[in-house]
C-alpha cells in the first residue's frame, strides 16, 4: 500500500514537470483564463469555454442540487425506520385462547413487530378503536378478524396469512389434540423454496435503479445540451467566426469533450455523495456489490454519452431553429427511452430474457441493459468488457460519420438540412 502511494506520487510529480516544460515551450499559450482546462490547443479552448458556460448556468447548479436532494431522499428515507420495532395493537373482544395467543406471537416474530393486546368491551367498541387508529387489528370471539383498511393495502399484507394461521389453530384445537401435538403442528416449518430465477439481492436492486435513473437523466440532459448548443452556434452565425479560426472537427470535439466532462464531473459528485451519505446513515447502498454497480453505472454513463453525443451533435448541425430541434430530438430519444423502460422492467422482475441480453450488446441500449445485468449479477467480467468494446468501436465509427455530417451541414442555412441533401447529388454541385 505504502509503495503504491510512493509510486503514484512519483508519477504525479514527473507528469507535473513534463507539463511545466511543455507549457514553457509554448509562449503564445502562457496562461489560461479557462483555468480548469488540463488540455492544450484549440480543442481544449473550446472545451474549457463549454465547461465554464455550463458550470455558470443556473440549470446546472439548480439541477445538481435537485438531483442530490432526490438521491439523499432515496438513501435516507428507507433507513429512517430501520432498527425500530413497530408495535401493533390487537383489540380483543371475548376470550383469546392460549393457542391463538401463540399464533399472534409467531406472527409478531415473522413480521418483525411487537404485538400488544387491548381488551375491548364489544364489537362496536372494537370498530370504533380501529377507526380512531387506537388499535391496528381486532379479533372477535376468537372467530373473526377486523381491520380498518382494505386488504389490498400493503400495511395489511400479512393479515390474510394471520387469518389462515388462526383458522388452522382453531381447527387443530377442535381436533382436541394435546398441547404438545398442537404446538408441533403449529410450529411446523414451511418447505424450502428454490427459484430458478433468484433475482438480485435487495441491496443491488436499489443501486441498479438509482444507476438507471442517473444514466437516463444525464444522457437526456447532456445530449440535449449538445443538440441545442450546436444549433445555437449555427443559428447565431457565430459558427462562421469560429470556423474562420478552427477546423470543424476541433470545434465539434471541444464541444462534446467540454459537455462530457461537465456530465462526468456531475455524475462523480452525485455518486461520491451517494456513497458517503450511504455510509453515514448505514444504507444498503454500500453493502455487498452495490459500490461495484455504482462504478459500472459511471462507466456506462461515460460510454453512453460518448456514443450519443456524436449523434446529437450531427443532428444539431442540421437544425437552425428550436422547433427543428424538437422534431429531431424525439426520434433520437426513442432508443434511450426504450432501453430505460426495458431495464426498469427487468430489474423490478429480477429476471432477464434472451432479448434483453442482446440489448446489453447494442451501443444505444447497452448503457441501461448492461447496468441491470451487473446489478443482477447476470454478467461476467468478459461479457461486460465485450459489450464495452463493441460500444467503443461503434462510437469511433459514429464519431466519423457525425463529423462528416457536421462539416457538411453546419454552414448550410435557410432551413433544416436533410441527410440526403448532404450526401446526395446536390452536394456535388
Amino acid at each position: 500500500m505504502k509503495s503504491s502511494l510512493i509510486i503514484a506520487l512519483l508519477v504525479a510529480v514527473a507528469a507535473f514537470r513534463v507539463w511545466r516544460r511543455v507549457k514553457r515551450r509554448s509562449p503564445t499559450r502562457r496562461q489560461s483564463s479557462f483555468g480548469f482546462s488540463p488540455f492544450s490547443g484549440d480543442v481544449a479552448l473550446v472545451a474549457a469555454r463549454e465547461m465554464r458556460e455550463r458550470y455558470r448556468g443556473r440549470i446546472f447548479r439548480v439541477g445538481t442540487v435537485l438531483i442530490l436532494l432526490v438521491v439523499a431522499g432515496a438513501i435516507v428515507i428507507p433507513t429512517l425506520n430501520k432498527g425500530k420495532v413497530q408495535s401493533q395493537e390487537v383489540g380483543v373482544v371475548g376470550p383469546l385462547p392460549g393457542y391463538l395467543h401463540a399464533v399472534f406471537t409467531s406472527y409478531a416474530q415473522d413480521n418483525d413487530v411487537s404485538v400488544g393486546f387491548v381488551p375491548e368491551s364489544s364489537v362496536t367498541a372494537a370498530k370504533g378503536a380501529l377507526r380512531s387508529g387506537r388499535i391496528d387489528l381486532a379479533i372477535v370471539n376468537a372467530s373473526e378478524l377486523f381491520v380498518d383498511k382494505s386488504l389490498s393495502d400493503s400495511s395489511n399484507s400479512a393479515v390474510p396469512q394471520l387469518a389462515t394461521d388462526l383458522g388452522d389453530a382453531e381447527a387443530v384445537a377442535d381436533d382436541q389434540l394435546s398441547a404438545a401435538q398442537t404446538a408441533e403442528l403449529l410450529g411446523a416449518k414451511p418447505l424450502p423454496i428454490t427459484s430458478l430465477h433468484p433475482g438480485a439481492p435487495n441491496e443491488t436492486i436499489g443501486t441498479s435503479v438509482i444507476g438507471l435513473i442517473l444514466i437516463f437523466v444525464m444522457l437526456s440532459q447532456y445530449n440535449t445540451w449538445i443538440l441545442i448548443g450546436v444549433m445555437e452556434e449555427k443559428s447565431s452565425r457565430v459558427i462562421e467566426v469560429l470556423l474562420a479560426a478552427v477546423r470543424p472537427i476541433q470545434l465539434l470535439s471541444g464541444k462534446v469533450l467540454g459537455i462530457g466532462l461537465v456530465a462526468l464531473s456531475q455524475a462523480t459528485v452525485i455518486v461520491a455523495f451517494a456513497l458517503l451519505l450511504a455510509k453515514a446513515v448505514g444504507s444498503n447502498l454500500i453493502h455487498g456489490t452495490a459500490p461495484l454497480v455504482l462504478l459500472s453505472t459511471l462507466v456506462w454513463l461515460f460510454l453512453g454519452y460518448a456514443f450519443y453525443c456524436w449523434v446529437y451533435a450531427a443532428a444539431g448541425s442540421m437544425a437552425e431553429r428550436q422547433d427543428q430541434v424538437q422534431s429531431l430530438a424525439f426520434p433520437l430519444s426513442i432508443p434511450i427511452i426504450f432501453g430505460y423502460i426495458m431495464s426498469l422492467t427487468a430489474v423490478s422482475s429480477g429476471s432477464v430474457s434472451s432479448f434483453f441480453r442482446v440489448l446489453a450488446y447494442l451501443p444505444p441500449t447497452a448503457p441501461f441493459a448492461m447496468t441491470v445485468l451487473v446489478g443482477l449479477k447476470q454478467a461476467t467480467l468478459w461479457e461486460f468488457l465485450a459489450s464495452a468494446a463493441i460500444s467503443i468501436v461503434c462510437t469511433v465509427a459514429m464519431s466519423r460519420f457525425a463529423a462528416n455530417v457536421y462539416r457538411r451541414a453546419i454552414l448550410r442555412t435557410g432551413g433544416r438540412v436533410k441527410l440526403r441533401e448532404i450526401f446526395g447529388r446536390a452536394n456535388a454541385s
Binding site: R29, S236, V238, L242
Partner: protein, 298 residues
C-alpha cells in the same frame, strides 16, 4: 513590398446557380478596398472561400505568395454578413476567447479586448452579455472580434449596414487606421457613397466574375466626362434634351447631370445652356462611384 491577397480561378456552384465563375483578382495590403457587386454577385461566397467556409470546385487563394491554410487564416480577421457572436456570453470573455482561438495568449487577448472596446467607445460594456447591447454596439463588438488578434488581412461583409452616421464614421476611422498600419482591409457594402469616401480601391464583380478593379481616383477620372449644369427657371432641364452626343444622367431640382459623348465639346453645351436662360451652375465633375458601378454592370 506590400503583401498581396491573390484569388485565382475560383469556381463554385450552388445547384444550377453559378456563384463564382473563374473569379480572379488581387489586392495589395496597405489600403482599404471596396468589394462591390449587385445582390447575388458572389461577394459573400468569395469572402467565405477566403476563410475556407465554402468548398471550392476550383481555384486557389494565396496570401503573401502562399496558398492559404489554417495557419494563415489565424492571421486573418473576419466579420460575416450575418453577425455571429454568442448572445449569452460576456463581451470581454467573448473577445478573449476569439483572440485565443487565433493563437493569442490569455493575457494578450484580454489586453487586446480591453483596448479595442476602449477604442470603439464601449469599454463600460465589457462585463455585459452581448444580447443586452444595442444593434450598433453589437456591431462594434463584432468589429472588435475581427480585429482583436491584430490580423494582417481584414475582411468585412457589410460592416456599415444598419449603423447611424456616427457609427459609420467610427468604423470608417478604424478601417482607415488599420490600412495605414499596413493591413489589407477589404469590405463589401451597398452604401456606395461611404465606399467612395473610405476606399482607395474598389473591385466590382457580377455573376461571379470580375467586372472592374482599380483605384477609385483612376476610375472616377476615366470614362466619359460629366457636366453639372443649372439654368435658371428650367427645373426639368428641357434645354439639354436633344443635344447631340449628350446623355442626361439625372435631373435634380433643375440641376442636370450630363454625360458627354466622345467628341462633344463642353463649349457647345455651355452655348446651348446660355441660349436658354441665365446660367447659375456649370461644373465639370468626376465620375461618381455609383456611376462607375452602374456603368460596369451594363
Amino acid at each position: 513590398m506590400a503583401r498581396l491577397l491573390e484569388l485565382e480561378g475560383l469556381r463554385r456552384h450552388y445547384g444550377s446557380i453559378t456563384a463564382l465563375d473563374d473569379l480572379s483578382f488581387s489586392v495589395a495590403a496597405g489600403q482599404v478596398v471596396g468589394f462591390l457587386g449587385p445582390n447575388g454577385a458572389g461577394k459573400t461566397t468569395t469572402m467565405r472561400a477566403i476563410f475556407g467556409l465554402t468548398d471550392l470546385e476550383a481555384g486557389t487563394v494565396k496570401w503573401d505568395g502562399a496558398v492559404v491554410g489554417q495557419a494563415e487564416r489565424r492571421r486573418f480577421g473576419y466579420m460575416p454578413e450575418e453577425r455571429g457572436l454568442y448572445p449569452g456570453m460576456h463581451v470581454g470573455e467573448q473577445l478573449e476567447y476569439l483572440g485565443r482561438l487565433h493563437a493569442m495568449s490569455a493575457t494578450s487577448a484580454r489586453g487586446a479586448a480591453e483596448t479595442w472596446l476602449e477604442r470603439l467607445g464601449i469599454a463600460e460594456r465589457i462585463g455585459d452579455k452581448v444580447e443586452t447591447l444595442s444593434h450598433g454596439n453589437q456591431q462594434r463588438v463584432q468589429l472588435a472580434a475581427a480585429l482583436v488578434h491584430g490580423p494582417e488581412l481584414i475582411i468585412l461583409d457589410e460592416p456599415l449596414a444598419g449603423l447611424d452616421p456616427t457609427g459609420i464614421d467610427d468604423i470608417g476611422d478604424v478601417l482607415t487606421e488599420q490600412a495605414r498600419a499596413g493591413r489589407c482591409v477589404i469590405f463589401s457594402s451597398h452604401q456606395l457613397d461611404q465606399v467612395e469616401d473610405l476606399c482607395e480601391s474598389v473591385t466590382i464583380i457580377d455573376h461571379g466574375r470580375l467586372v472592374v478593379s482599380g483605384r477609385v481616383d483612376e476610375l472616377a477620372t476615366s470614362g466619359p466626362r460629366r457636366l453639372v449644369v443649372r439654368v435658371e427657371g428650367d427645373r426639368d432641364a428641357t434645354w439639354a434634351k436633344g443635344l447631340d452626343g449628350v446623355t442626361i444622367s439625372e435631373v435634380n431640382g433643375g440641376e442636370a447631370r450630363l454625360v458627354l459623348g466622345d467628341g462633344v465639346d463642353s463649349d457647345s453645351v455651355l452655348a446651348a445652356a446660355t441660349a436658354k436662360g441665365r446660367l447659375t451652375e456649370f461644373v465639370l465633375q468626376r465620375r461618381r462611384l455609383s456611376e462607375v458601378f452602374r456603368e460596369a454592370l451594363v
